[in-house]
Symmetry: C2
Subunit: 188 residues, 2 copies
């Protein structure tokens, strides 16, 4: 608020939000910096004051994606009290995230160049860390291996759901949770 006519106030966040909306509507292929500018009501050059370019804006969307994932998954894990159920809850929440926030899912995993963006890699690692405590209890010899396996199967089901290989979200969620329990049970 102030001089909204010229200055936008918070153009950076407005651009990120427009990008999320655009990708939600048209998919990550339909994303373009020009269209984001248009929707935000600024010129095509304006975003370059806040981002070094197209990929930098997408990186900001990815950061937001990881933050949202961390919040959702840590909440889901906190609501379960048995370690095995925490893994299952994580897997289910990962599938729900793909359904409820398709744009954030696609940008984070539809992989653009994460190379050289240490902050993004760190954010991605932090998401997996929410499984650490449960994994330490269940498999003290190789906790990270257990984390990876559970995250991998959850992500695979999420992708199958978005790809249409699995039709119902409930099926994907249950499949991911069941697989997480099976993996946790191995050599337990």
């Amino acid at each position: 608020m102030g001089h909204q006519a010229y200055h936008h106030g918070d153009l950076r966040n407005a651009l990120v939000q427009s990008a999320v909306d655009l990708i939600t509507e048209r998919g990550r292929q339909g994303f373009s910096l020009a269209e984001v500018s248009r929707r935000t009501g600024v010129s095509a050059a304006a975003p370059f004051r806040h981002f070094t370019g197209r990929d930098d804006l997408l990186a900001a969307v990815a950061e937001r994606s990881y933050a949202e994932q961390e919040e959702r998954f840590s909440t889901a894990v906190a609501h379960a009290h048995q370690p095995v159920e925490q893994l299952a809850a994580f897997a289910g929440a990962a599938v729900r995230f793909a359904v409820e926030e398709p744009a954030l899912f696609d940008v984070a995993f539809g992989g653009f160049d994460k190379a050289g963006r240490a902050e993004l890699e760190a954010a991605g690692s932090r998401v997996l860390q929410v499984l650490r405590p449960a994994a330490e209890l269940l498999r003290p010899t190789d906790p990270f291996g257990l984390v990876l396996a559970v995250a991998a199967v959850a992500h695979g089901f999420a992708l199958f759901l978005r790809d249409g290989v699995v039709e119902s979200a409930a099926t994907a969620e249950q499949g991911a949770s069941a697989a997480a329990r099976a993996i946790a049970a191995a050599e337990a």
Copy 2:
């Protein structure tokens, strides 16, 4: 081979091959129809005689990807004789495919619009069918559920490897195989 000066002989396949090479070198972001034309030594308009556009060429690459996957995975499965080992072999082969054919992996799963391309969806389903016999033996009540879980975890590990979450291909391959065995063991 007759008049190579003008007619290309097999421009369609040459374009697909150039596209694979280009994506291998620069990633799926670096793909452009113009660059593919340049490398193949034809004008930018030539591809339109064989493909309706950019996405149609990518779809042809995806078809080739699924064919390659089907061949690799069915071979891997055929070499294992216990059903559980067939699942593990599939998972390992899926990870190897991501390493050895990064372009084919990215195009098939880096998901562009598969909507309305029935042939592509069918090819994708056929890849999973190579696990059917083993799954029928191990879990007759829900064979497809077992197929999905194994394919999901394999795909997840493959993606983590390509994303740098897992550093070594051997780790990813072993993780995927071990998870496949664990999933097969559940309620067996």
